[in-house]
Symmetry: C2
Subunit: 147 residues, 2 copies
Amino acid sequence: MRRDSRLSRMLHVLLHMARHDGPMTSDAIATMLRTNPVVVRRTMAGLRDAGYVRSEKGHGGGWALACDLDAISLLDVHRAVGGPQLFAIGNEAGPTHCLVEKLVNEALEDALREAEALLIARFGAVSLGELARGFDADYAGPLASSP
Amino acid sequence: MRRDSRLSRMLHVLLHMARHDGPMTSDAIATMLRTNPVVVRRTMAGLRDAGYVRSEKGHGGGWALACDLDAISLLDVHRAVGGPQLFAIGNEAGPTHCLVEKLVNEALEDALREAEALLIARFGAVSLGELARGFDADYAGPLASSP
DNA sequence: AATCATGTAACATTAGATGTATCATGAATG
DNA sequence: CATTCATGATACATCTAATGTTACATGATT
């Protein structure tokens, strides 16, 4: 399988939406993400179900933020797109009676659990609002930080 | 893509080999792993190239350890099987001029790098010898630990 | 009514691990 | 030396989940 880029893409979109007046169409977002409007709708459906964005049909329709960026963490977005597997490595599912296999799998899963906890904690600690303000500070230049 | 289980499988095999007299055939190993001898040869080729195991053809041939388990870390095995991607999430490869996209990707990659460093450190800190002794202590029962 | 935009379903594509079949090569055995 | 056993290597099939694509239905605006 390819590397899952839904979290990355949705963060990208949400930050743009916050800097954009009025709704954005799936087509415009697809162009931004270099993909297809159907992929956009499919992925953003999760964000809508979670209440982070709204979608409207018809003229002047499209996608708009439904809450403050400070109320959304990276973890929220990760979960809203389906909370996919974080790791590409692991062990076979099947039940086993082999004690060596069990020991090995437990050792690996311990390490993976720890790394996952770290990632989840980091994702949960950062809000999209902080990311957006980081953007202003990092990229908008000295004018933006003058008093 | 499926979850990569080569590390798990090779650890399983190496620990068995240490508890086994004489070489083990790809067929026997494949049965142990519930897979196919060709898959075994393909995966173990990396371990052989790294010098952790030896393979012999013909009657009485098969696979045997080529060094002490204490000289092999989980990280060594991970690298010997190709050092595959650890994470199933990430971002699109393509170059971009969008500063928002760059900021988002850097934020995610920072977190992933940190988690990867944790995993690599843990894998590097555990030798197969320690794992094997952990097995004896955990599963072999009180008889094994008597003086 | 026409247009615009999302919602949805169905199917194609892609990438990488894994599974499988086949034959070549070399070692041990009689 | 022929047979058997085992690895080495190649080619191709399968599986899985994300992603890409086509087509059409639904609802809102003009």
